[in-house]
């Protein structure tokens, strides 16, 4: 079973109808959203790229939801670098649907059964209230797709070699799931597996969290993949997603190098000067599109990440395949006022 089935043309036909419907739904149920669209003169979209996008940071500055207060079942928050957080409101239906779609997406590479699972993280992190929302939610969310979990790191953040060896003895001869943040996988799992000859050849790795720290260490995505293959780990899937589009992840295909959009999602790369859609090969700002946000107007979001589409209907799976290239630096103003907090 896969959620990566639709060619780009087929997908756009299906999605445009659904997304136009969602736009109308949110306009009718979220007054601030309707005001933004009215003020910008939006009437209707003839293509996916015509759909009105919201800057993702808007969820940090505004309360945007399309459900009444008494139907809010879950409020998700993202941690922000500047202290401001996104607030995402889900009703019961949206919460269930996002979990179901996320499961369907990862089951494309894991199969339908829950696999034994290594979490490349420390249980101590769950106790740290300040970092919980981002890292903890990711780990806990993904842990539901596995069973017989083992933490790769002990409470002090050191590699727990005994636990890893025990896990591999018990489960290592059949497919198992490994999940963690890209940098932790590199720093702890890869190096330990190499040094101690751990056999990870039945593992399926799902990892996320950005490449910045690895690029700083001069490790490219290609090299990451090649080095993991050298310890037997060949089934490796990076993914890209954000709390503002919870349930939607863009997953790396089996042969690596590109992220793919599930059938209910898409991406558009925009020229940051003209805001027009860019063709494959041209890097720009990444817009993420998903039909999952039904309880808040987050179905078309302009991220602050730079990306590039590599190709359309020419990879492991149909549709667009793309990469995330890094973050747009935050705008900083000159000025008299917001200046020297440092003096205090």
């Amino acid at each position: 079973m896969s959620v990566f089935t639709l060619s780009q043309a087929a997908k756009e036909e299906v999605l445009l109808k659904e997304l136009a419907g969602l736009t109308a739904h949110h306009r009718a149920n979220c007054e601030p959203y309707d005001r933004i669209l009215s003020a910008s003169g939006f009437t209707e979209a003839a293509s996916i790229a015509d759909l009105p996008w919201l800057p993702v940071r808007l969820f940090k500055t505004l309360e945007l939801k399309s459900i009444p207060d008494d139907e809010v079942f879950k409020t998700l928050t993202s941690s922000g670098t500047t202290g401001d957080v996104s607030r995402i409101y889900l009703d019961k239906a949206a919460a269930a649907e996002q979990q179901r779609r996320l499961a369907a997406t990862v089951q494309t590479v894991l199969g339908p059964k829950r696999l034994p699972m290594i979490l490349v993280d420390t249980r101590a992190m769950l106790k740290d209230r300040t970092s919980f929302s981002a890292r903890g939610a990711g780990v806990l969310g993904m842990s539901t797709f596995g069973r017989d979990h083992v933490w790769a790191l002990d409470m002090e953040g050191e590699v727990d070699l005994t636990a890893l060896r025990g896990f591999l003895e018990k489960h290592g001869d059949r497919p198992f799931l490994i999940f963690g943040f890209t940098f932790l996988v590199w720093l702890h799992l890869y190096e330990v597996a190499l040094r101690h000859g751990l056999d990870l050849s039945n593992g399926i790795l799902i990892h996320s969290g950005g490449w910045k720290k690895l690029i700083d260490q001069a490790v490219s995505p290609d090299e990451f993949r090649a080095r993991l293959a050298s310890v037997g780990l060949t089934k490796v899937h990076n993914y890209y997603g954000m709390v503002e589009q919870i349930g939607t992840i863009f997953l790396e295909g089996p042969s690596g190098g590109s992220l793919y959009c599930p059938d209910f999602a898409d991406v558009v790369v925009r020229d940051p000067q003209t805001w027009a859609e860019l063709p494959p090969g041209k890097p720009g700002l990444l817009e993420v599109i998903s039909t999952l946000p039904t309880s808040y107007p987050g179905h078309v979001l302009l991220t602050e990440d730079l990306g590039v589409v590599h190709g359309i209907d020419d990879g492991d799976w149909p549709g667009k395949r793309f990469s995330v290239l890094g973050r747009l630096p935050r705008a900083e103003a000159r000025g008299c006022s917001d200046t020297y907090r440092e003096a205090a």
């Binding site: 601030p32 003020a39 808007l58 945007l64 805001w275 103003a333 000025g335 008299c336 020297y340 907090r341």
Partner: protein
């Protein structure tokens, strides 16, 4: 602690040096600095240093000193002055320091470690002037990190503390007590506006309109519209129904043309910042329409003068609102408002506006192009008076 200018050593040690109000050694130093800043090579690279150089010319300095003199009292330096200027408007620290130095004070200026560009050029120029040694002993510019102990001891040392940088900065600095006899001169968050007379614009010839827009563009774009005096919302004043729309279109077309000619750009991050803020105005109902013709210009139609934002929207973001007359703008102004730049009004209209405001808001009413021109009267203060003390003498 890095000494950027002046003699290395204990900043708060007692000093035997005495400067007078309008001390010739200070005047000579500032005049030499002005010559360096007005050098063509410098002025080309940093046009804002040109106006600073002009401000420091001997004729201007002598005029300022003359104004410090009084018939009814002897005028002396206030004493020790501790300046905390903003990091990002590179020239402000020179203006406030120069007037204080001219008044004969011993000054310590904290230069932000984030200062760059023009600030570095100024410091280099200061260090290149052959000055009387007393200048380096009494005028010191330092950079230090997040060090409360230094800020605290300088706060105890000074007779006047000059705090720029917004409400949060003022509150934070005020946690450090002053001597009982000392006080603060504060420059908190401010907002500035532009007012454009619709009939005045229509009456002006194309050359006059263009000059006005060039001046407005400098005011708005030089500091990314984030200086306290940078105009943000433009109020279109007067005219018959429908006139304002046409004037706004002409104004924006000319503005884009000027911005184009200057080669000014607005990067992607700033463009996104503007979208976030403009969408925020629309979402709350403060704005009725948003136009994004180009990253360099964002035009916002406000629901009315009362919803004009006092928050920064981004570089090249212009909310517009219409009012029948300047008097109708008065209720929307408050203490936070600093500069109103104007075009197309009669002197009588402007005087009436100022009188109606009655000091309850707006400290400066200046023509387009002069919003950023610093003066000895600033934020409602007479700075030379603030930097001096008076002795009465009755025989």
């Amino acid at each position: 602690m890095i000494f950027r200018f002046g003699a290395d050593g204990d900043l708060t040690a007692p000093s035997d040096d005495r400067l007078s109000v309008g001390d010739p050694r200070v005047v000579d130093f500032l005049a030499a600095l002005a010559r360096k800043l007005l050098a063509p090579a410098v002025a080309r690279r940093h046009p804002e240093l040109g106006s600073l150089g002009y401000f420091l010319r001997p004729a201007e300095l002598n005029r300022a000193v003359e104004k410090m003199r009084r018939d009814d009292a002897l005028v002396f330096p206030r004493g020790n002055v501790f300046h905390l200027p903003p990091a990002n408007v590179d020239t402000i620290f020179v203006y406030s320091w120069a007037i204080s130095a001219l008044a004969g004070n011993h000054n310590v200026v904290r230069i932000s470690s984030r200062s760059a560009g023009a600030a570095e050029v100024i410091l280099d120029a200061m260090n290149a002037v052959k000055a009387d040694p007393v200048i380096g002993r009494t005028q010191r510019m330092v950079t230090y990190g997040r060090d409360d102990a230094v800020t605290a001891s300088l706060s105890k040392w000074c007779d006047l503390r000059v705090v720029w940088g917004g409400d949060a900065a003022v509150d934070a600095i005020r946690k450090h007590p002053l001597r009982p006899s000392a006080r603060d001169l504060t420059f908190p968050d401010r907002t500035s506006w532009a007012v454009l007379s619709v009939p005045g614009w229509r009456a002006a010839d194309p050359a006059a309109r263009r000059t006005a827009v060039v001046g407005f563009a400098n005011d708005a774009y030089w500091f990314d519209q984030a200086a306290c005096s940078s105009p943000r919302t433009v109020f279109l004043v007067g005219g018959r129904a429908g006139d304002a729309d046409g004037v706004r279109t002409e104004f924006l077309d000319l503005l884009l043309d000027v911005v184009d000619q200057r080669g000014w750009t607005v990067d992607a991050a700033m463009a996104v910042e503007k979208r976030v803020n403009a969408y925020g105005l629309a979402a709350t109902g403060a704005a009725r329409t948003l136009d994004f013709p180009d990253n360099r210009i964002t035009a916002v139609t406000l629901a009315g003068p009362g919803t004009a934002p006092r928050r920064w929207i981004g570089a090249g973001a212009f909310p517009f609102a219409e009012v029948p007359s300047l008097r109708d703008l008065v209720p929307a102004m408050n203490r936070q408002d600093q500069t109103v730049s104007h075009f197309g009004f009669t002197p009588a209209e402007l005087r009436d506006f100022a009188t109606e405001l009655g000091g309850r808001g707006v400290d400066r009413i200046v023509p387009f192009g002069s919003a950023l021109t610093f003066g000895a009267l600033w934020d409602g203060y007479d700075l030379p008076a603030e930097f001096t003390r008076l002795t009465t003498l009755q025989m």
